[in-house]
């Protein structure tokens, strides 16, 4: 198992190098640079334009800029945001827990609902349950995130007044962030009602963000289960006289989970893409909102750093999925 993990980690190095190159190049292909965006409609003199460009190193040839960038990256320096003049890494780390918290709860929502729904649909294949669950899943998968978010806000917050509309916690509460996770920090603060306030702020965004992954997971679980239920070893398990819950929940599910875990991992990318919209709708102070602003303002260092950090995280998530699969499936573990 350890050998597998080491092998898997060493494989991520080339991916990270390629990622670094692509983020750097992609942003420079977009017309306009930070100076042009900032100079406004009145414009500035060519001398000052030249001066600012020189200050940011934008007058250098692109290959030189890239090498400088890689050099500072290798020293752990992600650069300074042009807008906030704050270190990119610091900004990222401040905002990131909010996105992680949201994504985790969304994933939890998607997995806890999606896997059992998929199993039920597979076991009751062709029944009302199957058609119902798959119909709802298709509906959820097709729902545009911003539209779904607004609908939920309208219904749950405005009509029924069940949940707050935006933010991470009521303005009544204030405490210094310790972990950056509002649910944990609110518990640590010991203030009455802080935790339930944090949770009630989290519910709607988590549902919105988790809907597409939920649908994908339910469909994947169903098809994977259907395939596995036909396998010889499931018949063997039944021939042993095992109760149905054990045949389905242990013998079939364990095998069926392999592609499902991969799907869950791949949804990590969808999560971050969805987070950009979800965070905008619910004014959730996370990475998604931050990146959108960085694009509009051509904040090269923030965007490069942010995308690179997120990509790195995705690589890590995918790697964890592989390792988790190896834990479930002995054939992967033994390199076959």
């Amino acid at each position: 198992m350890l050998a597998f993990i080491v092998r898997r980690i060493s494989l991520t190095v080339p991916t990270l190098i390629a990622l670094c190159f692509l983020t750097f190049m992609a942003i420079r292909l977009v017309p306009g640079d930070p100076i042009e965006v900032r100079r406004g409609e009145r414009g500035i003199s060519p001398e000052r334009l030249e001066f600012f460009r020189h200050e940011l190193g934008l007058d250098q040839p692109v290959w030189k800029q890239f090498l400088d960038y890689v050099w500072s990256l290798m020293h752990g320096d992600f650069g300074i945001s042009i807008i906030s003049q704050d270190s990119v890494l610091h900004e990222f780390l401040t905002l990131f827990p909010a996105t992680v918290e949201l994504s985790l709860f969304a994933t939890l929502f998607a997995v806890l609902l999606g896997v059992p729904a998929g199993i039920l649909a597979a076991v009751k294949r062709g029944s009302v349950w199957d058609h119902g669950i798959m119909g709802v899943a298709l509906f959820g998968y097709s729902m545009p995130v911003f539209w779904w978010g607004l609908l939920l806000v309208l219904f749950c917050s405005v009509q029924l007044d069940l949940t707050p509309v935006s933010g991470r916690i009521d303005l009544l509460f204030y405490f210094e962030p310790v972990t950056g996770f509002m649910t944990i920090d609110s518990l640590l603060s010991g203030q009455d009602g802080a935790f339930s306030s944090a949770i009630s702020h989290l519910i709607l965004p988590a549902i919105v963000l988790g809907t597409i992954p939920l649908a994908a997971i339910a469909r994947m679980t169903r098809s994977s289960m259907l395939e596995v239920l036909e396998e010889d070893y499931v018949r063997t398990a039944r021939a042993k006289g095992l109760p149905p819950w054990r045949v389905i929940g242990l013998h079939a599910l364990r095998n069926a989970l392999i592609p499902v875990v991969t799907t869950i991992g791949l949804q990590g990318g969808t999560m971050l893409a969805g987070a950009v919209l979800t965070e905008t709708i619910f004014a959730w102070p996370g990475i998604g909102k931050w990146l959108i602003e960085a694009i509009f303002r051509r904040d090269y260092p923030a965007l490069q750093g942010g995308v690179l950090l997120i990509s790195t995280l995705l690589v890590i998530v995918n790697m964890s999925v592989d390792i988790l699969n190896a834990a479930i499936n002995p054939r992967i573990r033994h390199g076959r």
Binding site: E231, D232, Y233, R235, T236, A237, R238, A239, K240, G241, L242, P243, H251, R254, N255, I328, N329, P330, R331, H334, R336
Partner: protein, 335 residues
């Protein structure tokens, strides 16, 4: 009273178009304690389906009916699902054709053997381990202790089948159904597995139903043979009688196709193939491939001959290789 009694077992499958496909048609069979009975036939003759029906392992689309289906005097069709589950895996066990895919790739050998022990006998962890080692030893797996932690993909086909057998006999069943247990294995291993099954029958006092399409396997192991064709039972006899004087033309053709019996340069084969779902005749299902077929064979369903003629399902069963008329009204049959 026999251990397993089957009378007129019929299994039908609902097809997508809403029709019924009859995979097993009025099959009767009795298996005594400690007896080895073989069911022979080509692919698609309903051998496995009939035995899966006994185990209760057919999919929900299957409709099973029988005049009588009892095991040790107990009516299997009348049992509740949970009562039936407490019987299978314990008193009736089954092993399958593909040992490699019949073991769950995600669990160790020890876990999979221990499961039946925990479910049916309620053994604790240590007792399960001890019993599993004993079982692996019994089926001839070297260094059984280290094998308990092996995963199925680390075993060869022969080893996997031995593990399957160990699992099947773990609760000392009274009946073991072996569905082509050696077909997927290479020849030397085949013989070992069959020897093992016969040896276990002697040691464990269990009856053995051996499903196969290999007449050689039948000759070496079985005491009694049932020949099936296209879902119907066409002949039933002791192994000695069957090989000495087959009464159904299909049995005769199967025996003639044995390479050991071939005399010419070409191996004799049965022309054509088993009829499919929609091309079964009104008369005898074997008629299109039968060397002795008469016009009546394709129009009238044959009657069953008496036990002295192996209960052959034929208008003109063979005696010493020559057809004889069961029914006096049949003309044109050489006496």
């Amino acid at each position: 009273m026999s251990l397993l009694e089957i009378e007129n077992l019929t299994v039908e499958f609902e097809t997508r178009s809403g029709h019924l496909f009859r995979a097993v048609d009025r099959v009767s069979l009795a298996v005594d304690e400690r007896e080895i009975v073989s069911i022979v036939g080509e692919s698609g003759s309903g051998k496995s389906v009939a035995m899966l029906a006994v185990m209760g392992l057919l999919p929900k689309t299957a409709r099973v009916s029988a005049d009588r289906l009892t095991f040790a005097g107990e009516n299997l069709l009348g049992l509740s699902p949970s009562a039936r589950r407490s019987l299978i895996g314990k008193d009736i066990a089954m092993i399958f054709q593909e040992p490699m895919s019949s073991l769950n790739p995600c669990f160790t050998v020890g876990f999979q053997i221990g499961e039946a022990l925990a479910t049916h006998l309620g053994l604790g962890r240590a007792a399960r381990r001890a019993r599993s080692i004993e079982l692996l030893e019994q089926v001839g797996i070297p260094s059984p202790e280290s094998r308990l932690d092996a995963f199925p993909h680390q075993l060869s086909g022969g080893m996997s089948q031995r593990v399957m057998i160990a699992m099947a006999i773990s609760c000392s069943p009274k009946l073991l159904i072996a569905d082509e247990p050696s077909t997927a294995l290479d020849v030397t291993i085949q013989a070992q597995i069959l020897d093992l099954l016969v040896r276990l029958r002697d040691e464990q006092d269990m009856a053995l139903v051996l499903i196969t399409h290999d007449m050689g396997v039948v000759a070496e192991t079985a005491e009694r043979v049932v020949v099936q064709y296209a879902g119907r039972q066409v002949e039933q006899a002791t192994t000695i009688d069957l090989f000495r004087d087959p009464h159904h033309p299909y049995t005769a053709a199967l025996l003639a196709a044995l390479p050991e019996r071939a005399t010419g340069r070409r191996l004799p084969a049965i022309g054509g193939m088993v009829p499919g779902q929609w091309d079964r005749l009104a008369g005898c299902v074997f008629a299109p491939r039968c060397g002795f077929a008469l016009p009546i064979c394709s129009t009238e369903p044959p009657r069953r001959a008496g036990p002295e003629l192996g209960r052959a399902l034929c208008h003109t069963p063979l005696v010493a290789g020559r057809p004889v008329a069961l029914d006096r009204s049949l003309d044109g049959v050489p006496a």
